[in-house]
Amino acid sequence: MKILVPIKRVVDYNVKIRVKSDNSGIDIANVKMSINPFDEIAIEEAVRLKEAGKASEIIAVTIGPEKSQEQIRTAMAIGADRGILVKTNAPIDLGGVEPLAVAKTLKAIADKENPDLIIMGKQSIDDDSNQTGQMLAALLGWAQGTFASELEINDGSLQVTREIDGGLETLELKTPAIITTDLRLNDPRYAKLPDIMKAKKKPLEIIEPSDLGVDYTPRLEIVSVNEPPTRSAGIKVESVDALIDTLKNEAKVI
């Protein structure tokens, strides 16, 4: 079984982002960048399937700037066998390459690579759209198992447990299929130094969007990006009695 794992370079989840002063976007110059946390979970899941003898090859693919090679190398250090970078200078967080365009790019790659399974993050923590996996499933005409917290693959049958608003839902999917990861699917490993060294030698192919015939003209114009209304810190109360008193008499919420 061949697994394709799309990943994305994003601002690290620990960074407190800043809106650009001209309100055109987020200032990402000189900010720590990482692999999107949900995508790391996707890579880990693919590697576990390979370790269990259920997968033969893992391909990590990303769409982004030249520097996204760093994230591909990270994926390789966790265990991806090879990588594909679709290189673009368009922004990948806002106002550039949108989920639909990413899905079209990934469809073109899937058509070439013919994977049996695509595992990807449920959402990227920059634009928070939560669309790409579902869109890719639609374009390929495949089944989708979104927000997965458990994946079971046995003799060609694929069962996925999904985190839904009311609890959990288990589906059986026809393969090939697309899985999008939720936080509880696994705990990604830390890559060890020897694996990081080995990753440097794994094959990484760089292609252009035009090689795949996809157009990155945005459909959504970013009119502006602004700071959210800030919430100022309130007061500290000294005791439980004081808290009850304020909630009853000042805030009037109980």
């Binding site: 806002l94 639909l100 989708q144 999904r162 059986e172 509880r184 500290k236 005791s239 109980i254």
Partner: protein, 309 residues
């Protein structure tokens, strides 16, 4: 302008999230139709027809639609799409799962999780865990949108008398098959629409200790929420998670107990009217957004609070 709202339901009950999505549709203006797709879902279609201001209810009632799998619902939306300028659903796990599939088939760039309607083609949505708000203008001819339910008023569930039209759904794609549900059952209010939410974090320490959170919640008639850390540690089920990648809540009162206040958690609750934090670390970031902070050991403060309220 003509909007189709995708109803969320379990074949017996229309979920309140739908009313909030209709709230956004009202802001857009024009006629509003509702799609109720399910199996034996007539009772839901009838309820939808009662909603004030609805033009028409479209009912797709067929056994393969019982579990409303995205692979089978999306083609229905695609088929109906040409009659509409906007197609909306709530940004619930159902809406997030289904609508992008339809959007891709329609070659449309969906707009996720809107928090305001600026005009028929321009919307605001939070990005970067709510640390920035993007105003986006869509150039697509049909706009597919998911709606953050906490920022739009619910439409009035009564007072309407829309007609119900039958729609015969195409055969199932049979791409996916429902196996089972493990749904949390609770007598407490639903997390995303509760007036009061009591949330516990890693500080609560164990599943057993969560009983003190439950007692306080029950005293207040509140829903229970949790941080990711509390869910990951197995103190509570996944559907309790509040935050960037969990549920968004905006109750009148949010009580955060033993929660540090990571940005990913704040993203899900900082629009609450009044925020109370109980934490033993006076420097915990949660105090930066709390209206009322109590620096205390939760194992002393929470039982005392519950006893005295």
């Amino acid at each position: 302008m003509k909007t189709l709202v995708i109803a969320e339901h379990d074949n017996t009950e229309l979920k309140s999230a739908t009313l909030h999505a209709i709230g956004a549709a009202i802001k857009i203006g024009g006629d509003i139709d509702i799609l109720v797709a399910g199996s034996n879902c007539d009772i839901v279609a009838q309820a939808a027809a009662q909603i004030s201001g609805i033009n028409k209810v479209i009912k797709a009632d067929a056994p393969p639609l019982e579990h409303q799998l995205a692979e089978d619902i999306a083609p229905i939306i695609v088929d109906l799409a040409s009659n509409y300028t906007h197609i909306l659903s709530a940004a619930t796990t159902f809406g997030k799962n289904t609508l992008p599939r339809a959007a891709a088939l329609l070659d449309t760039q969906q707009i996720s999780d809107i928090i305001s309607v600026e005009s028929a083609d321009t919307f605001k949505r939070p990005v970067y865990a709510g640390n920035a708000i993007a105003t986006v203008k869509s150039s697509d001819s049909i706009k597919l949108i998911t709606v953050r339910t906490t920022t739009f008023d619910a439409a009035d569930a009564a007072g309407g008398s829309a007609s119900v039209e039958d729609y015969s759904a195409p055969a199932s794609s049979e791409l996916s098959k429902f196996i089972k549900h493990e749904l949390s059952t609770s007598e407490r209010p639903e997390l995303t629409s509760a007036k009061i939410v009591v949330s516990g974090g890693r500080g609560v320490g164990s599943e057993e200790n969560f009983a003190i959170i439950e007692k306080l919640a029950d005293k207040l008639g509140a829903a229970i929420g949790a941080s990711r850390a509390a869910v990951d540690a197995g103190y509570v089920p996944n559907d309790y998670q509040v935050g960037q990648t969990g549920k968004i809540v905006a109750p009148d009162l949010y009580i955060a107990i033993g929660i540090s206040g990571a940005i990913q958690h704040l993203a899900g609750m900082k629009d609450s009217k009044v925020i109370v934090a109980i934490n033993k670390d006076e420097d915990a970031p949660i105090f930066g957004v709390a209206d009322y902070g109590l620096v205390a050991d939760l194992f002393d403060a929470v039982p005392e609070l519950e006893g005295k309220i």
